[in-house]
């Protein structure tokens, strides 16, 4: 009776929840459970029958070298981008945060410009810039005599990952910069004054004065950047399609290739792709939880607010 009256009392609220719940139910909650369900099936195409095969997809994944190389490439990508992005952005943020620098906003706009530009467009423009046939970077390197033959940055398996990592850092540095600037704004200005009087500047200022203060933010920024670095599908797809010879195939490209089997004429393996997605999702989630726990510690025990 009491429950019923509570439901009735909040009838307007429930009504208002409805549109958001329908949208969230369709595209947030349902896909998670459906992916788990599909992962347990053999399913070769959206019109085909699903056959329950238990955990077979997962045991196949564990033995699939393509899966493991895609998985490790995602991790390499993470390790290659996030520290560079965090450190570069922090140094820039400290410089741009300086009150005496009148052009800060102007510089910030420029650094931020790639962030608002569609990733796929960025990827395509960069394939031209890095092109061995008359691309401007090769042109410059040839002109100053650093190399004698053009480098096929995206076409050789040695240079493709560093190139993609470089473009990724270029693209997203601005957003990390904004995060750091927001964090730095919480540092009281008299602290800089005191540091200046003690003749503490440069790397020491960052390391001993600023970092301890912005530490909780740093964890948050690290978390956001790390998760973003695992979602690189558009950039890599538009630059290399995962090639050459799978040399830049990260997890999401692997999933896409298995599920939507474009080009090479193989049969779509939706159940298998879903299993790979689940595996990957669990890893991302574990990473998130670990970092969130650390962030909570850094903010001083359970009294700190939940992440986000």
């Amino acid at each position: 009776m009491l429950r019923q009256s509570a439901l009735y009392r909040y009838r307007n609220q429930y009504l208002m929840l409805l549109p958001g719940l329908i949208l969230g139910g369709m595209f947030v909650f349902y896909p998670i459970f459906a992916a788990l369900y599909f992962a347990l099936h053999d399913w070769s195409g959206f019109n085909a029958q699903r056959v329950f095969i238990g955990l077979e997809n997962f045991t196949r994944l564990v033995g699939d070298p393509f899966f493991w190389s895609a998985f490790s490439r995602s991790l390499i990508f993470l390790v290659g981008t996030v520290p560079a992005q965090m450190i570069l952005a922090l140094v820039l943020a400290v410089i741009l945060n300086n009150q005496l620098l009148k052009l800060s906003t102007f510089f910030r706009t420029f650094i931020f410009l790639p962030v608002v530009t569609p990733v796929a467009v960025i990827g395509i423009v960069w394939t031209f810039i890095l092109s061995p046939f008359n691309g401007p970077i090769n042109g410059l390197l040839l002109d100053i005599g650093l190399i004698s033959r053009p480098i096929d940055f995206l076409g050789s398996s040695d240079t493709v990952m560093p190139s993609v990592i470089g473009v990724y850092v270029w693209k997203w540095l601005g957003i990390t910069l904004i995060y750091w600037l927001a964090a730095l704004q919480t540092v009281p200005s008299d602290i800089y004054e005191a540091a200046r009087l003690d003749n503490c500047k440069g790397a020491r200022l960052i390391w001993y004065i600023i970092l301890p203060i912005v530490w909780p933010f740093a964890i948050m920024i690290l978390l956001i950047s790390a998760v973003a670095a695992l979602n690189v599908f558009p950039l890599i797809m538009s630059m290399t399609n995962g090639g050459p010879f799978f040399a830049s195939e990260v997890m999401e490209i692997f999933i896409y290739r298995k599920a939507f089997a474009t080009g090479d004429g193989s049969i779509p393996e939706l159940g298998y792709a879903a299993a790979a997605g689940v595996f990957f999702g669990v890893v991302v989630l574990t990473l998130t939880v670990v970092q969130a726990v650390i962030a909570r510690r850094a903010r001083g025990g359970p009294a700190g607010r939940a992440p986000i």
Partner: protein, 290 residues
């Protein structure tokens, strides 16, 4: 306060501060960095105005002859005009859907302790970091089931659903901080629940609405995996990003046409960014501060 006299270069760099060598050097270094930073954009615009011959002759950034017809070719023959309006449709549609759905959801979640509230709230929080690769297959399957897997409406709805969680949390956080007195006094006046939301609470949440609108515009204009998958069967509904990607696959040698197409794709969002820069930056900074 006195109005600034003349905007001399010295004044721009140093403001009212005494010129020092250090600031001059830092400013100079940053200027060089910024030029390198935006070089790809300059190169793109320059290439979009050159003839194919001139691109491969490898001259400087400023074209000898401005070939404006590259833009016409991209807009008409490469279908960028059509893709432009598809993208606009998806962006505007998803902004309306997302803002409405997340504001209402965030309002109820942020201000009321109804039965089931905590389950719902933490359910949303738990899904924040689920990667898109995880959910793309079920999303596509669901749209096929609803008969929406190869049209713009389906793409718009799916684009709305994908990024909503963070927005819900932003709204919930903001609404939960607003004082109760406003609502109570409105209720005493006989204003009903929905009117209170629409006329009193939502206008107060304007900063969050602006943030959500901007972030969703950015998301919809940038999205790639979802439109790629949905337009596989129906090229007519491609968005700009997917259209450009297909263009690259089909016409690999037409650099100037592609550069023109790329310029068309990024121009609206860049103009929007420059006009509303403050909101972009504050919105993003808010995400990390919260």
């Amino acid at each position: 306060m006195k109005a600034p006299a003349i905007l001399s270069p010295k004044r721009i760099v140093f403001g009212d501060h005494k010129p020092t060598l250090q600031i001059a050097l830092v400013s100079f270094g940053l200027t060089c960095l910024c030029l390198i930073w935006i070089y790809p954009f300059l190169w793109m615009i320059s290439t979009s105005l050159k003839s194919t011959g001139e691109i491969f002759a490898g001259t400087g950034l400023i074209p000898d002859v401005f070939e404006w017809h590259n833009y016409r070719r991209a807009w008409v023959e490469a279908n960028m005009g059509r893709y432009f309006f598809n993208t606009l449709f998806v962006t505007v549609g998803s902004v309306i859907i997302v803002t409405f759905c997340t504001a209402t959801l965030g309002y109820v979640l942020g201000r009321y302790r109804f039965p089931g509230r905590n389950v719902l709230f933490f359910g949303f929080v738990a899904t924040v970091f689920i990667p898109q690769g995880f959910t793309i297959i079920p999303v596509f399957e669901l749209l096929s089931f609803l008969g929406l897997s190869s049209n713009l409406v389906g793409l718009t709805i799916a684009t709305s659903g994908h990024a909503m969680v963070i927005f819900v949390l932003l709204f919930a956080g903001y609404f939960s901080q607003l004082p109760n007195e406003l609502e109570e006094s409105a209720r005493v006046e006989g204003v009903n629940f929905f009117q209170i939301f629409w006329y009193v609470m939502l206008p107060l949440a304007r900063p969050i609405v602006v943030t959500v609108v901007i972030m969703q515009v950015l998301h919809a204009w940038n999205d790639f995996l979802l439109p790629l998958v949905i337009t596989l069967a129906n090229p007519a509904i491609r968005t700009l990003s997917v259209g450009l990607y297909a263009f690259k696959g089909e016409q690999f040698i037409d650099w100037s046409g592609m550069a023109a197409a790329a310029t068309i794709s990024i121009l609206p969002i860049v103009i929007l960014f420059i006009l509303l820069q403050r909101y972009f930056v504050n919105g993003l900074a808010g995400a990390v501060k919260g």
